[in-house]
Symmetry: C2
Subunit: 225 residues, 2 copies
């Protein structure tokens, strides 16, 4: 990818791009890198520090927290052209928690160096405000994840995960594993497998080795709320 | 309280006050109200809509979420001179969850009308950025609460609540009820009472009708992490 391509991509995906001056634009472009990750690869963890602000150019990322005992809770997923500021949490003085980020498909990421993001934030109030706004958006996602885990029944939670995944699927075939769904809803794989068998017996899904096919969208939708 | 007093209070407590022009300052001052709430009173709920941006002038507020079945999870507390933007979530387009706010003591609140906050945010980028920053700070608090609930043992969680409360207490006497502690940690009152009795048997606290007295701070501290 040339600097021109990066310029074009950032212009399309950073809402306040026009408010940056030429030097600020060039600083962001020059410190951008394209990185590719294999499906399943971890690209941010407790020890990776502040890797930078991310944009998903292709593929899908999962952002989650991890306990000392290895329990995972999915906070949200990032799809094409979505950005993640929590991977550059060092630029946000008030964010003092660490997230983990894995590639769920082969994923291409544009990464802007966090020191440069931080510098441009200090120089340009529009850009600073933009970064804080992005963070606030994720706040809602996280609250949603938290309420799912704390308050709702397993059946509804599994149905919600399938429904959300189906929106991003062309053929109603969902390639999430039972393990992944269990992590998403903060439950055990066995519990999810049991629930999916129940869904199958109800004619809502068909279970294949390679994934879960939704057979009856209406019935699935009816399980949510 | 006169408009002059309000002016002085806002100047002290809104970091970007000097960046506002005279009209913007006057709009905020004119739309400010002082409200008093009794201990235990609810000042924001699902139906109260967008009451405004709050500053605690005296007392203490508890911010929490509530499930359909009435289960509560404490997100954070607001002490003197702390502000809450989630009570004016309508000014933040990306915040789409509702919080509940109760007074935990007799509490005096300065409340700025949310429509006016919204107007000033649109006119003044410094102020907009300031509001988003305040929101981002609470994001960290909420993540902390979430990790407490999801990942840690009951003993550690109860000890953490006592420790935090003791920081704001002059005489090591903590007036939280077992019920309140249970809500804080997302557990049942019985579980907390049992744990407190265990703490008493260990010489860490003494239990009175009116509260919990910390006897051994060092031992209490050692239970956390």
């Amino acid at each position: 990818m040339t600097n021109n391509d990066i310029n074009y991509y950032l212009q399309e995906n950073i809402q306040v791009w026009d408010k940056l001056d030429k030097d600020q634009k060039n600083d962001l472009i020059d410190s951008s890198m394209i990185n590719c990750y294999q499906k399943g690869e971890n690209l941010h963890g407790k020890e990776s520090g502040c890797i930078g602000t991310l944009f998903v150019m292709k593929g899908r990322l999962r952002v989650y927290i991890l306990s000392d005992e290895g329990k995972e809770i999915t906070l949200y997923r990032l799809y094409k052209n979505e950005s993640c500021v929590l991977s550059a949490s060092c630029v946000l003085a008030s964010i003092n928690f660490d997230v983990f980020i894995d590639a769920e498909e082969n994923t291409e990421v544009l990464m802007i160096n966090s020191a440069v993001v931080s510098q441009v934030m200090q120089k340009n109030l529009d850009f600073e405000c933009y970064i804080y706004k992005l963070t606030t958006e994720r706040f809602s996602d996280v609250m949603w994840a938290m309420q799912q885990i704390l308050f709702r029944g397993i059946d509804e939670r599994v149905a919600t995960v399938l429904w959300d995944a189906s929106i991003h699927s062309d053929d109603d075939l969902i390639t999430l594993t039972h393990e992944t769904i269990a992590k998403d809803i903060g439950s055990a794989r066995e519990v999810v497998s049991r629930m999916l068998k129940y869904f199958e017996s109800e004619g809502i899904v068909t279970l294949y080795r390679k994934g879960i096919k939704i057979k009856n969208r209406k019935k699935l939708r009816a399980m949510i709320n």
